[in-house]
Amino acid sequence: MSDFKRVMFEDWSLWIPMVSFGIFFMVFILISVRAVLINKTETDRLASLPLEESSPETLNPRQS
């Protein structure tokens, strides 16, 4: 592990991409966990938001 760190961080600047990636990765995991855990009825309700109040032309205004 410390070898890895020496190779990667000997140059001060190279840690920036690593840290950036780390930050992104955490955000990504958090959001993914969130997305997986969200409950089905809720997503269905949210997903059908645009289909409410359809214009008269739409054949089937409500979908759920």
């Binding site: 410390s2 760190k5 961080f9 140059d11 001060w12 600047s13 190279l14 840690w15 920036i16 991409p17 690593m18 840290v19 950036s20 990636f21 780390g22 930050i23 992104f24 955490m26 955000v27 990504f28 958090l30 959001i31 993914s32 969130r34 997305a35 997986v36 855990l37 969200i38 809720e42 997503t43 269905d44 309700r45 949210l46 997903a47 059908s48 938001l49 645009p50 289909l51 109040e53 359809s54 214009s55 032309e57 739409t58 054949l59 089937n60 979908q63």
Partner: protein, 825 residues
Amino acid sequence: MTTSITYDDKSVRRFMIASIAWGIIGMLAGVFIATQLSFWQMNGKFLETLTGGWIKGDGISFLTFGRLRPLHTNAVIFAFVGNMMFAGIYYSTQRLCKARMASDLLSNIHFYAWQLIIVAAAITLPAGLTRGKEYAELIWPINICVVLVWVVFAVNFFWTLAKRNEPSLYVALWFYIATIITVAMLYIVNHLSLPTSFTHSYPIFGGLQDGLVQWWYGHNAVAFFLTTPILGIMYYFLPKAANRPVYSYRLSIVHFWSLVFIYIWAGPHHLLNTALPHWLQYLGMLFSLMLWAPSWGGMLNGLLTLRGAWDKLRTDPVIKFLAAGVTFYGMATFEGPLMAITKVNALSHYTDWTVGHVHSGALGWNGMMAAGMFYWLAPRLWKTQLWSKPLANMHFWIATIGILIYIAALWCAGIMQGLMLSEIMPSGTTLRYEFLDTLKEIQVFFIARAFGGFLYLCGFVMLAVNIWKTARSGVAVEETVEVTLLEKKQKDGMGFCAAILNDPIAHVILAMGFVLLWFFLPPHANIAALLVAVLLGFKAVSAFRASNGAWTNWHERILENYLPFTVLVFAAVAIGGSVQIIPTIIVNRGKNIEGRLQELYTPLELAGRDIYVSEGCYNCHSQMIRTLVPEVMRYGRPGVADDWSHLGESIYDHPYQWGSKRTGPDLAHEGGPIAKKPDGTLYSSMRVGKRGNDWHFYHFLDPRDKSPGSNMPSYWFLFEKETDVKALPGKIKAQVALGVPYPVMTDADITDRVETQAQDIAKSLVEAGAYFPKKPQLQGDSLRNHLVKSQGVALIAYVQKLGAYKNVKKAQPAEPSSLNPDSHR
């Protein structure tokens, strides 16, 4: 309690019509400048034939490629896609919020002011009034108007959100929020400048910094002006058109946050293989590759929304356009990360492959989505049927064929020219082709490209006719609906503190902090930090168990609270820019530079540089020699080792002029040392580089004279117009204020120095037997007196200066080792 609400559909109609009209104008400009690359006569000479000799000239200043390309790009980005996006946002936001736009007055101001800005752009750009940065060309008074209108739009939008009658914010609205705040941030930072007159200013950043800020902006203009709003439109209109909910709402959550978070970091991929610090290049490439995932997630989410509705693809033009748009989005976002791989970029960058890439996004994604949305909207906005389905289908096919021809032609042109330019003779010491050879070789593809673009334009004219006829066959209506009014407490009940300082966020921030410490702390302490981070992880899990799902509520509640949501998005996009730009701004100062440091421009050279910027030479010429062997062989100076463009060489350039496309050769090292007089002494400031002054003189008059087959416009008019010497003291003062270390000069000093250098150049031209065909009566002294004052001589002075540097050594070893590109290669 219910009430009836009438949506503001008038604004939607207006923006839509404006988008179509500007779209046709912008695309027409595109087809026009495409022909200029094949036929130099299109830069003005053709008018001579058209008017039977009434208008004369090999080139007409406001019709030259360098001035019209910015018109084309600005028109399609800000006028065509801008108005289209406003139409889509105004339509869908009202429906998703179940509320009319908050203020009709603001909507009106937004519409009319935006059109006025476009008109102002259409006048100033051909007139040569420009800031000289791609897609950020408009001059500062217009910039201020743009910011004000954007604020009007933002207030109107967020106010509507505040008045909404639906507690949850649908994913389309998230994309709109991200668009509004990120574009504001990017636009303001990249347009910071110091005015020297009402029409001219210098950007406050210079050289490398300006380049970084520019591509942070440029890349994210693609991301947040051309992509996120259209994704929002996709998430609204595709389900509408297919009449089924989006394929996976979960995927849309991941799509949104990853896209917003990753995109902002990818800017440096426009500067790969240059002397840019290695970590920045690495970052740009890494995040560009990561973009593959969310982009394709979004594309699949869009396409799969059509599950079970694929039959409509045969019959419904709206679905056809939307599906094709999303498919092209997938194609363009596949190609983009590919081109961000350093090795691929070595070939693709500066060639027309890039131009093809951006058009698969612009024509394929933006154009097709616009068409799909307009065909869907028109019958609803005018309460009628689409005038002609067959015509819409015809539009679809002609547009698709047009795009394919366009992209394929530029793939061939770009890859072929890239390969030819880097081909080295078996001896290993010389290049196989002259630049001009490669240009001639790709001419056939340029013509095919112009044809592909023309087909696409024809398709768009069909759309205009179809929509116009549709509108004529119906009546403009405003939709009215019954909605249940929402109590104030059912939405937006969450404060800033509640959003940030709660369990999940606090744990994550703490854990991140300790992971960072693990990176930095010395041995042992770092292990401790890592342990704490892991413990925090466990703590988070147990807190999650204990909270009984309260954690999962957080994101839901954020979605019902637009202010904290907006702040979070802003944080996500602000991190990227700060990490990339702030260290560079701190490190890359003139006083820190070791090695090559740019020689300051003399006043005349500075005037010449402003002419270079104003004529838009950067639209064809780069000034950045990358650290690649064939490139250094082609553009480096003989006898100078490691002659790529070092960062210090352009550090005082406001704006930077590295460019992004090489229709002509790189000019970074076109100049040379101070010239010798016949008696062996040195001139005071006149320089001669790769070419003599007279070569440049004849070349500017008529490039074909020196380089048969060149497509460079003829710039004879620069020898008719006078250099604005009076403006120079003010300009130099502005440069000093920006940190360019000019010595103290009085106005008289400046005029004297201009006069001396211009006289030397003019004299050298006359002595070389110069002849000015437009004014054959001028000869000898009269010709010299004419040339001395001309812009052309100032431009020659500038071109002969390009690449001049002095070597500086610092007493201590330079600390920012990252500035040395060799250390990591």
